[in-house]
Symmetry: C2
Subunit: 235 residues, 2 copies
């Protein structure tokens, strides 16, 4: 392979969208999720997000990075900047953060290969009065005790109670941490040891800003020990 070396000066010389696509590719494969919320008027909101990540199992905590600037409509003299933000993070949850702050609850819904185009389409700038559920053709479903909607078509989905909303002052993004309250999952995917075979339910992965992927398992591997090689595990 021919390894190419890009310095920070090279990267700063990229056009804005080129740099956004390049840097968004560096972290590796990302999770593909839809965040669903509801406001006081009962208008639901659905936002594609690729920055959901595990924080801890006990308590069960999940984090996500939200870029809130796109909530404000861009003024004329900030239009270019707004576009850069879009390119940087296509999954702009316009009302997601506001709804989470008001209601304290949200759901995260896996995006499968069956719904990835609809999920991507939620990142268009729909008017506040329009629910992305309706706009893209996905279906709301509810359970007792959780105000926020779930995505019926999602095969693994969970509700969270917000625990911390932390501004990352370094670039004006927001880290939202929630505690898992209910998990709804296709039962065939849940293994006896607790592992959920998300490949078997066609959960997608994301690379860069706009590429969606299915997966093929290499192997599960045994817990690593100093004195023995890793072993492949049965699923």
């Amino acid at each position: 392979m021919a390894i190419k070396h890009f310095s920070s000066a090279d990267i700063n010389g990229f056009a804005d969208r080129q740099r956004a696509r390049f840097i968004n590719s560096l972290s590796g494969f990302k999770s593909a999720n839809l965040v669903a919320t509801i406001d006081e008027q009962g208008i639901t909101n659905l936002a594609m997000i690729s920055s959901v990540f595990h924080i801890g199992a006990s308590p069960a905590l999940v984090g996500m990075i939200i870029r809130p600037t796109a909530v404000q409509p861009p003024a004329k003299n900030t239009l270019k900047k707004a576009n850069i933000n879009d390119a940087d993070n296509k999954a702009v949850p316009r009302n997601t953060l506001a709804n989470i702050k008001r209601t304290g609850v949200y759901t995260i819904n896996h995006v499968s290969a069956d719904i990835y185009q609809q999920a991507h389409q939620t990142s268009a700038r729909y008017d506040d009065a329009i629910s992305e559920f309706d706009a893209v053709g996905l279906t709301e479903t509810y359970i007792d005790g959780v105000a926020a909607p779930f995505v019926q078509q999602s095969q693994l989905k969970f509700s969270l109670s917000v625990r911390e909303i932390t501004p990352l002052t370094i670039n004006n993004t927001i880290l939202v941490i929630g505690e898992v309250s209910h998990v709804l999952v296709d039962n065939i995917a849940v293994k006896d040891d607790g592992y959920i075979d998300i490949e078997s339910i066609n959960t997608a992965a994301v690379s860069g800003l706009d590429s969606y992927h299915t997966t093929t398992r290499l192997s599960r591997l045994s817990y690593a020990k100093v004195d023995r090689p890793v072993q492949a595990l049965d699923i």
Copy 2:
């Protein structure tokens, strides 16, 4: 599909490792990376980590969650707790955080299908005097101006200068944010528009605590607009 509903009471009733595997599966597919550092004595450290995520493109910021408690050898009466932490996050960067604090620099190296077993093996508890590079058979490589080693076998790797180290008091994990300084990548993967085709260089994805996957692209999708359907893009 038969959707099963797990309440938080159900999940709290799981055995510790079962709960760790279950909760670690919820966020979706995760990035597969090796974090490499060096200490003042020149001893290198290499740690598998599945919590690297994109924070912003301009400046180019990448985050990761580190669980530092495993740095301390467990006292007898905390052994059970230490094991829970291991199960919760197999990728325990024992000396990673200390080295980052001391040197200010680290590298993140994509784990490909070719090296995923070696990458997984770095999470065994090697003695501090042993470099995981040597222990698992991966090769250090260096560039001018970056003290930390890169993994020669990795086809996409980048160095970072640490910008923020933020304790998440909610569960005693640490959010480490770094700014990208140099990127080394197989040039065939870098597309004209900035997108890096990480699938073409066999970058792996992780699910749960221990499952590794390759990917198959569904499609790149056009920037979503309210007034038109999404289109598949050429790679």
